[in-house]
Structures are given as structure tokens and as C-alpha cells.
């Protein structure tokens, strides 16, 4: 059995973010990059399946050369090999273009099961895995919190608004991981040393016969700003007349909106 896990390199959300001088993008200098946290759940699940039923786990990531660091950290968790699809630029790719490239790359790896995080924490688009599945004509299930696998099928619990449902998908299939699926393991020192010796296959758009002309975003960002800091709510005491008086005072003096 062969499992391919799609992982994305994203800025660590614990970083201090700044808007770049162009006013339309995030300042990348000084940011620390990590594997998108939902993807860690996908990697963990793949390694658990490998430990349980035997499988080869290959981690696939598309992006700039630094993506290899993220692939290495998945290898240090226990994945067997990596594949890096080099893309021009370093961020802001269109979901559609990335999905097309990843679909072609994933196909060359001949997976029985593809796992991915339910979304990446940078753009939160939640687009790529499902697009890959559709392009490869695979059954797929999203936002999964439980997964059972046999040699021929995968059974999953999917979160939906207000509840969940259980589905069985024939393999090959694609599944995206939600937080509750498992607790990702930490890289161990012995695995960090082993990861160094594991193979990362180098893929390029050229080699895959792709032009990359659909990687550019299909939208234009006109402005970017940091969200306004959340303020604490306040409950007013007293009867209606007192509360209205206090509300008007607060709107005028504290919030200065009147």
C-alpha cells in the first residue's frame, strides 16, 4: 500500500505579522515557516496506518526550495520518502493551478490513498485536496475525524455542520484531516538523523510536462490590513433608562463613535 500525503509550507501563526510595504501582501522577511498544522494530522495518520498495516508513506509538497524543510520534518516524524515539486516564486499561488500540478505529480507516485490537511492555515482556502481528487477522478471525503483502512477501502467519519456522517470509500481515494483525527507525534532525535538520509525526489513543472501558467492567482489583492484587536464586551447594569444613559456615554466617551 502506498500513501501520499500533501503538505504545505506556511508561516507559523505564532509569528508577528506585518503588512509589506506594497500594502497588498504579508511581509515575509523574518517569518518562520512550518508545516501547516492540519497537514501534520494527515502525516500522523499515514504513519499510524503504516505502523498498523504496513505502507510506504511519501510526502509531497509544491513550492519554493525551502519546502524541503517541511518535507524533512515529516520524514523526521517517520514518513519514508519525500517528493518536492519546485514552483517559481514563493507564495500566493492559485489553488487551481497548484491542484493541477499536484494532481499530475501525485499520479506519478501511484498512491492507494492520498491524505491532506483539511485546509492550510495561511489562505484557509480549503480547495487544493478536493480539486486534486476531482482531477484524478478519485472518491474523496473532507474534514475527517476518524479513519479505518483496509486493503480495498477506507471508512471515515466526516464533520458536517451540526453533526457528522460516516462514509466508506473504495481505494484509491483522498481524505482530508481535521484536528480530532489524532495527536501528531513530535520528531524524535533518532528520526531526525534518519530523515537526513531519506530520499526527496525532485520534480519540476518541466519534467511533468506542465507550463505553470495557471499558478498565478485568479484574483488581485488590492489592500491588506491587520485585523483590529478584539475588545472585551461589557454588560451594562441598572434599569433601562440608566443603561441607555450609560450606553450613550460609553459610545460618546469611551468608543468615540458618536
Amino acid at each position: 500500500m502506498k500513501i501520499v500525503v500533501l503538505v504545505k509550507r506556511v508561516p507559523d501563526t505564532a509569528s508577528v505579522f506585518k503588512v509589506a510595504s506594497d500594502g497588498r501582501s504579508v511581509e515575509l522577511d523574518g517569518l518562520k515557516f512550518v508545516m501547516s498544522p492540519y497537514d501534520e494530522h494527515a502525516v500522523e495518520e499515514a504513519i499510524r496506518l503504516k505502523e498498523k498495516m504496513g505502507a510506504e508513506v511519501i510526502v509531497l509538497s509544491a513550492g519554493p526550495p525551502e519546502c524541503k524543510e517541511v518535507i524533512r520534518s515529516a520524514l523526521a516524524m517517520g514518513a519514508d520518502a519525500g517528493a518536492h515539486l519546485l514552483l517559481p516564486g514563493d507564495t500566493g499561488y492559485a489553488s487551481r493551478g497548484v491542484a493541477e500540478a499536484l494532481a499530475v505529480a501525485a499520479k506519478t507516485l501511484e498512491p492507494d490513498l492520498i491524505l491532506a490537511g483539511k485546509q492550510a492555515v495561511d489562505d484557509d482556502a480549503a480547495q487544493v485536496p478536493e480539486r486534486v481528487a476531482e482531477l484524478l477522478d478519485l472518491p474523496h471525503a473532507s474534514i475527517v475525524t476518524r479513519l479505518e483502512c483496509t486493503a480495498t477501502a477506507v471508512t471515515v467519519d466526516c464533520e458536517v455542520e451540526g453533526g457528522q456522517f460516516t462514509a466508506e470509500l473504495p481505494l484509491p481515494a483522498l481524505v482530508t484531516a481535521q484536528k480530532g483525527l489524532n495527536t501528531p507525534r513530535y520528531p524524535t532525535l533518532p528520526n531526525i538523523m534518519k530523515a537526513k538520509k531519506k530520499e526527496i525526489r525532485e520534480l519540476t513543472l518541466d519534467k511533468l510536462g506542465l507550463s505553470g501558467d495557471r499558478l498565478a492567482a485568479g484574483m488581485t489583492v488590492t489592500a491588506m490590513a491587520l485585523p483590529r484587536q478584539q475588545r472585551l464586551g461589557k454588560i451594562l447594569d441598572g434599569d433601562t433608562a440608566q443603561r441607555v444613559k450609560e450606553l450613550v456615554r460609553a459610545l460618546r466617551e469611551d468608543e468615540k463613535v458618536l
Binding site: G30, A76, I192
Partner: protein, 600 residues
């Protein structure tokens, strides 16, 4: 609670740009490594520190270790931390492959210890204890002891301690009374005595605990020349490595402490209730010199723990200062205008800068030592080995005493940033302050460290140790002076270095004249002066690297500019005080020496 415990960008700056630890890759012992394995190790350690150690920080303090009259239970959360460290190989990052380690440099071990201690010092000590005991056996034990004990200790199967202190022999180790008598049959000794203040002395985290114990053999000479080192397991270990019977190491109790309450600090009775077997490590009567090898590690580790607590407190204070709204700009007279975060007030930034400057200088000092220790361990050049040893001998008391003294002050400043809330246990800063106090006391109280520096290290090999350090400092001052922007800072550090050399010569003459008590009576002030020179030097070295990066057009310019300003703050605000201390030392202030005890 802050989700940041340390500045990883700064740690990378120290490792790669200042200390250039990639140079260590030239040594065969580290040849499998690369910057990538180093980064992955410190990142994994930081994740563990934030996500496993830190969430248990307050819980372990509130629950404490519990003694039921016969057994000690470690705090519940400690079991998960132990398991993670065992699975991750964190008991032995630097140890050789043959004993289950991964041959990382000590520079990386220092960083991972720092991160774990920033997350939870009580917890980090359980892990470090096992490493220390194993390291002693590895360095001085015979093949049989190594075969029995190393793998389980380095693998996190068993815990470890070091048992020196007795109820009536703490600082004065020459007065210990625990005895070891050669057993009539077998290769072991029969141990009798009581040891106190044993960190991780008893717990339920592992099925066995290994105690290296300082003892006196029958007929040993009095004082420090008659001390031997034995290994005493809680449960005996059979030749095939399986566990044998209980070895009569009985826990008499655990301490109820001001801080580090998650740590089981035990009083242990050896051989009071039946035969307690111990096996000699190395040669008879050489125990103290063996133990000193571990003590030197433990002293630097104490400095690491101290600055780690200061780092956690600092990041809590920064977060609070950004979020807490209080007051307005001094020039703003409009009472209806919104309040501003307290970080906008210069005096709050002064408190934050004081902490940041301390942490960066202290980490600089410690990681400088770690790189020197790495070189000493790896080099085949005897001359280099000797210089490294001299540098470490001189700097160890500074790492231990100055860093722990200043860390406590640093956390006091962090607590002050919180105002009244800092005094409440709801925020972690109060506990960080309580936890930090012991670092100026254990592993040789700071007064003893000062006497070690002035009484032992300064005169060592006719001043060779101090000369080695001064040469190193002089080189870096010259390098900084060559950069125009740093010349004023370099001049200030140079002035202090001149003063330190002057005071040292002056005191040296007093010592040579035989007035030993007068020579040593201001040792604490001497250690402060000496260490501030070391801190100023480290800031200058860091400023040089930052300036060079800026001149080369580095990407994240703000980081380097901040580093330059932090160095400027430390040097401009501390060096004048250092010169004042030098004046006091030169005047050989002797009131305390002459003050009769009856007048108190």
C-alpha cells in the same frame, strides 16, 4: 500565559552567526550532522517545551511531588513529559551512537536544555539528572558498570541523581560521614549514611533510580582527599541487566520548598534498614575530582536554568505590556482619549530592555562556553584543549553565579511590568520568580562561586586562565573597534577590561603578601565586576556580528538593529557601574572582614 518562551531567531543568530557552530561539523564525531539536523532538533525541543513542558508548569507546582511515608509520586503531568522525552531520545542528544545517543554537539544540548527549562525547570531536572549520573559512569566507571547502567539511563528507562550533600555537610563536602565498607564477598561495598537535598531523589517515573554517591572508604584520609564515588542503585541490577532486589535506599522524606515544587527533593537513607550495595567508580579517594566534572556541567546547567526562567518571564511580560491598556502619553492632557498599552511608556520599555539585555548577554556567555566545551571534547590539538579548559574553568563560576543572581533581578523586573497582577499566582511570573531563587543557592552557593573564581581560578597556573580569557576579549574588542559604528562601545568595554586587569593585579599583590582573608573578602564584588565585563564583551561580539550582517545588506534588518540597540543599552548602562565596583575593589574595602560577629 505567553505562548512564547524564547526568541528562536536570537538563538539561531548566536549559534550560527556569532558562534559559527557549523565549524564543529569538521570533527568526525559530528560528521553526520548539518545545520538542518541542528535546526530540526532545536525546533522539536521548542515545540515540546511549549506544548508539553509549559502547559504542566503551573499544574506541577500546585500538585507538587507527594510522599506517602514510603514512596514518592511525581506530579501526574510529569509522566507524560518523561514519556515524550524517552521516546524522543532527549535523555542523550550528545551521547555517542553506541550508547543510544545521536552525537549532537554540547552547543545544541545547551539550547535544548535551555528550552525545556524555560518551559518547566522542575521537569527538565528529572531528565537532566539521568544524563548526569550516566555521564559520570561513562567517564570514570569500569566496563561492567557501563554495560549495566548506561543504556537504561541514556534511554530514559531509569532515573538518576547525584548524592553529595548530607544534613551536616553541605558546602563543606570534606566533612561527609557516609561510609562504604568492602563487602566480605563480591565486588561491592556496603553503604551507610544519609544524603539530603537530592533532586529527583525518589519518584515513580521509572522502575529504577541510580545514585552516584560521595562516601568515605574505611581508613580514608580526612577531608576532601578521602572522598570516593560509588554508584548505588535503588534496585540492584543483575549481570544480564534485569532488575534484582530492593537495595535498601529508603526515602526519609521530601522537602516542602519555596519553588521547584514539582521536583521531588529527597532525603535518602542508605543501608539503614538492611544491606545497601554500592560499586566503586574509578579509584578510591578520587571521588571529589570525578564529581567535579559533573559539578561543572551542573553549574553551567544552573545558569541555563536561571536564564531560561528569565526568558519565559520576559516573554510573558512583553505580551502583557502589549495588551494591558493603562494611562496616556505624558503630553496628552485629554482624559477622554483612549488609554495606551503600557509598552508605550518608556519606563516599561526600560524594564523590558533590562531583561532582554540580560538574557542576550547571559545566553551569549553560556553558548560561548558550550562551543568551547565542544572544541575541547573534539580537538586533537593539545594546546587548544588546554586553552579551552582554562576558559571553561574561569567562566563556569560566572555562568553559575552571575547568571543566577541577575536572572532573579530580571524576573523581578518582569513581575513589576504586571503591576499588582504580577504578585498574584494567576500569572506564571510569580512562580517563575519563586522557582528561580534556588539557582543562586544550589550547586555551590554564589558566595562560594565567587571564592572559586578569585581564590582558585584567578591564581590558576600563575594567572593563565584569566590571561586566556583576556586575550579572547581583546581580540573581539579590536574587531569591534575596526567598525566605526561600534568604536564607542568597544572603547567602553576596553576601559572596563583595563580596570579588571588593574584590580586583579592589585589584589594579586595582596594575596602574594599572604593576606589571604583580605584578598578574598570582596570576592562577590569581584565576581560581579568580572562577569559584567564578560557580559559586555558578549554584547560587543553580538553587536559586531549584527553590524556585519547589516553592512552585508541582510534581509531582516530590524532584528540586527534591535540587537545593536540592546548591546548599546547594556554597555552604556552597566559599564559605568562596573567601573565603580572596580574602584571599591581597588580600595580593598575591609569593613565586613573586621566587623566583630558580636556587634550584630
Amino acid at each position: 500565559m505567553s505562548d512564547k518562551l524564547a526568541d528562536m531567531r536570537f538563538i539561531r543568530f548566536l549559534l550560527y552567526e556569532v558562534n559559527k557552530i557549523e565549524e564543529l561539523l569538521q570533527y568526525p564525531y559530528h560528521e553526520d550532522h548539518s545545520r538542518e539536523t541542528f535546526d530540526m532538533a532545536i525546533d522539536a525541543a521548542y515545540d515540546l517545551a511549549r506544548e508539553v513542558f509549559w502547559p504542566a508548569f503551573q499544574e506541577m507546582d500546585r500538585e507538587g511531588a507527594v510522599f506517602d511515608g514510603s514512596h514518592v509520586a511525581a506530579p501526574k503531568a510529569m509522566h507524560e513529559i518523561w514519556r515524550q522525552c524517552k521516546e524522543g531520545g532527549w535523555f542523550a542528544p550528545n551521547v555517542c551512537y553506541d550508547f543510544g545517543g545521536q552525537q549532537f554537539p554540547l552547543s545544541i544540548l545547551a539550547v535544548t536544555s535551555f528550552l525545556f527549562s524555560a518551559g518547566n525547570s522542575s521537569a527538565a531536572m528529572y531528565v537532566n539528572g539521568a544524563w548526569g549520573a550516566a555521564h559520570l559512569i561513562e567517564s570514570f566507571g569500569n566496563e561492567d558498570l557501563k554495560a549495566r547502567y548506561l543504556q537504561p539511563l541514556y534511554g530514559g528507562e531509569w532515573g538518576g541523581t547525584m548524592a553529595l550533600t548530607e544534613p551536616d555537610a553541605g558546602t563543606s563536602l570534606g566533612d561527609i560521614t557516609t561510609t562504604a565498607v568492602k563487602a566480605p564477598d563480591g565486588d561491592h561495598y556496603l553503604i551507610r549514611g544519609t544524603k539530603r537535598f537530592i533532586s529527583s531523589g525518589d519518584h515513580d517515573l521509572a522502575e529504577n533510580i541510580i545514585h552516584p554517591v560521595l562516601v568515605r572508604l574505611e581508613g580514608a584520609p580526612p577531608g576532601v582527599k578521602g572522598i570516593s564515588l560509588v554508584v548505588v542503585p535503588k534496585r540492584r541490577v543483575n549481570a544480564d541487566g534485569t532488575l534484582g532486589e530492593f537495595n535498601n535506599v529508603v526515602t526519609a522524606g521530601i522537602e516542602h520548598k519555596m519553588g521547584l515544587r514539582g521536583q521531588a527533593t529527597a532525603t535518602l537513607m542508605f543501608g539503614e534498614q538492611g544491606e545497601c550495595h554500592g560499586w566503586l567508580i574509578g579509584e578510591p579517594n578520587k571521588g571529589l575530582s570525578y564529581m567535579f566534572q559533573l559539578m561543572n556541567h551542573a553549574r553551567v546547567f544552573t545558569g541555563i536554568q536561571a536564564v531560561a526562567g528569565a526568558s519565559a518571564a520576559y516573554h510573558c511580560a512583553v505580551q502583557y505590556a502589549r495588551e494591558r491598556l493603562q494611562g496616556r502619553e505624558i503630553t496628552n492632557k485629554d482624559p477622554l482619549s483612549p488609554q495606551i498599552p503600557i509598552i508605550s511608556h518608556a519606563d516599561v520599555r526600560r524594564m523590558l530592555l533590562q531583561q532582554k539585555a540580560f538574557i542576550e548577554g547571559a545566553l551569549g556567555m553560556i553558548l560561548f562556553c558550550a562551543k568551547v566545551a565542544d572544541r575541547m571534547q573534539n580537538t586533537t590539538d593539545e594546546e587548544e584543549k588546554k586553552t579551552c579548559n582554562l576558559l571553561l574553568e574561569t567562566l563556569t563560576p560566572c555562568c553559575k553565579a552571575h547568571v543566577s543572581d541577575e536572572a532573579f533581578k530580571s524576573i523581578t523586573a518582569a513581575l513589576q511590568c504586571f503591576g499588582g497582577a504580577g504578585f498574584c499566582e494567576e500569572f506564571p511570573v510569580a512562580q517563575l520568580l519563586r522557582d528561580n531563587k534556588v539557582f543562586s543557592i544550589y550547586e555551590g552557593a554564589n558566595g562560594i562561586q565567587a571564592m572559586d573564581l578569585l581564590g582558585r581560578k584567578v591564581p590558576m597556573e600563575a594567572g593563565a586562565a584569566v590571561r586566556a580569557l583576556m586575550t579572547e576579549i581583546g581580540k573581539n574588542i579590536a574587531e569591534a573597534s575596526a567598525l566605526e559604528a561600534l568604536k564607542p562601545l568597544a572603547d567602553k568595554v576596553q576601559e572596563v577590561q583595563n580596570a579588571v586587569i588593574d584590580v586583579t593585579m592589585h589584589l594579586g599583590a595582596i594575596g602574594m603578601s599572604g593576606e589571604v582573608n583580605l584578598y578574598i573578602c570582596n570576592a562577590t564584588a569581584y565576581l560581579a565586576m568580572f562577569s559584567q565585563l564578560v557580559m559586555g564583551w558578549q554584547h560587543l561580539v553580538q553587536a559586531t556580528a549584527a553590524q556585519q550582517a547589516l553592512d552585508a545588506g541582510a534581509d531582516d534588518a530590524d532584528f540586527y538593529k534591535a540587537k545593536l540597540e540592546t548591546a548599546r543599552f547594556y554597555i552604556n548602562t552597566t559599564m559605568p557601574h562596573t567601573l565603580a565596583t572596580a574602584q571599591v575593589l581597588k580600595a580593598v574595602e575591609r569593613t565586613a572582614l573586621d566587623y566583630p560577629p558580636d556587634w550584630f
